[in-house]
Amino acid sequence: MRSMDFMKPLSWMVLLVAFTAVGCAHNSTSNLSMEPMVPSVQEKQVTLATVDKNPSQSKEVMEEQNPPAVEEVQEEKPRPASEEGTEDLSDEDLDFEEDLDFLEEEGEEAEVVLIADPLEPLNRAIFHFNDRLYFWFLKPAARGYNWVFPEDFRVAVRNFFVNLLFPIRFVNSILQGNFRGAGIEVSRFAVNSTLGFFGFFDPSSRGLNLPMQDEDVGQTLGVWRVGHGFFINMPVLGPFSTRSLIGWVGDSFLDPITWYVDPLLLRWGLKGYKKFNNVSLTLGDYEALKEAAIDPYIAIRNAYIQYRNALVKERGVFPEKVTPVEVYSSNPEVQRASNEYFVAELKPQRKEGQGFFATFRLVLTNKTEKELNLDWENTFYLLNSREKGRFLWEGVTWDGLTEIRGRPLVPIAAGETLTAVIFPKQLLGRASGAAPGGVQYTQGALPEGENGIALVVRQNGKVIREKMVVTISK
């Protein structure tokens, strides 16, 4: 609701105030929500593997990890996850100039923001309708209204309606587990209804530092990890997602006007006036947005979703780790191999907090009296009986990847045991931003099927080969 204000504005950086207009657009009508996830997006996301924790195959998981990044949808060519996920890191990838490098990452990360829009033709038609409605009726009417009533009056009217919607913000703060926010709302309501003269003034926000908690049912659903669904442009009301539309209906049940104003006509009249008054305070925003856009429809759709995402992100989705829908399991859990030289154990390990496997723990014990050498150069990752590149191990940095060419033989002294956490280079993705220790990649999920290792160990020129495979399934 604060967003509905972006009045005329602003100063310079404003460079884009326009975008904010969108926020207003819907927000004044009420509230809604955000969040992503449409199957196709999902795929895309998996593939990009840009975020360090991420190439999960699980929708839930992804949502929680990257709430901001998700939303629009139509990828031109949604490549299958496997394809991109398994793209080998060529030297070209690795040798990128550094400062340009991050731009690239950023670009990919941003690439993902879209929402499904199966109704696009209809939505666009409604967009034109709303556009005409605005320029032909709403704007001239608002201009007349502005001419008659000074801005201060209109701000007071807006404050009054905002104050009246206290139940929406209060209830949703609680539903989002934000009890402090709920408390702030109670204080605000008490202060603004009295000192603020029935809510026409808002002494809470400025003087008392009690900021409005801009929460609504749509956001609550987002916090609960409900996805956006698809984009719906409503006549008169403007942009919604499926989720925010449901939220909007929910909100109206928390709106005192719905309960206490009879008859119906007066009720709708009041709600309409509320919206009209808001529009009168933001004339010019929509025009600026349209002017700045290459394709105003897409600009608004994207801005709306980004805005809703930001609102939910601000609060944070519920922290409990919901068990991902797709939990992978490994059969057997640990694979063992033994020969006269060594005993080996291979155990797939889940990615922290995730339902999928990303690494193996390899334990190798030298049974002989002499040194054994583990030959990483000739040891391969096996996927469904095929060799799919080599392994990397924990602690290797992004820069280190380039130098790993001449892999040394790793010695294991007589009777000693070597333990290593390894992962297929094939499945690596680029992480966005450098993690502590300079690690800039993220391990991808071990796909379903037979995953394993074709191990090569040497002793005095003798080569000992051993294969260990586990079956990974959902």
Partner: protein
Amino acid sequence: MKRLRVGFILLVLLIIPFHAGAGVPLDTVEGHVNEVLKVLRDPALQGEANKEAKQERIEAVADEMFDYVALSRLTLGRNWKEFNEDQKKEFVQLYRSILEKAYMDRILSYTDEKVIFDKETMLSEKKAEVQTHILTKSTEIPIFYRVYLKDGKWKVYDVIIEGISLINNYRTQFRDILANNPPEEVLKILRKKTEPA
């Protein structure tokens, strides 16, 4: 001994604020924004007659503040590679004028809103986010600048207003066009849009 330790802790506490205080990214953004505000408030530049002069001065600051190449590159994402050298150059120019043209009027309509510089967050060694907000009579608008270190200077490569990223927003628009059209088509649209009316 104990006293010494307390003394040491106090010393550390005294020092910390200086380090934790505004860093270079925030200072850089603040400097540019203040320059613009100065131009806007300059009594010598008031009135319709000086509009053009004002505009030029602001554009000069913007050129210093923004890295339009990075902005363009990020906006196009993967499609950047589809553009040849000349097309890239032209795109950067056109995109820049679109942004300037679209927002200049709004910037010029600035009156007495206050800009508050909240904080900076380092996103990596060479990237930072500077958080600011504008306080108007009736509302507050958060505006975040994403900056990165380029040749020793912090340059803006994205602006996020109310959670809406500029490059992200344009990206979806260009991508839609580029899905079925060659880069030339985008340039054609941009040329048309930047033509003086």
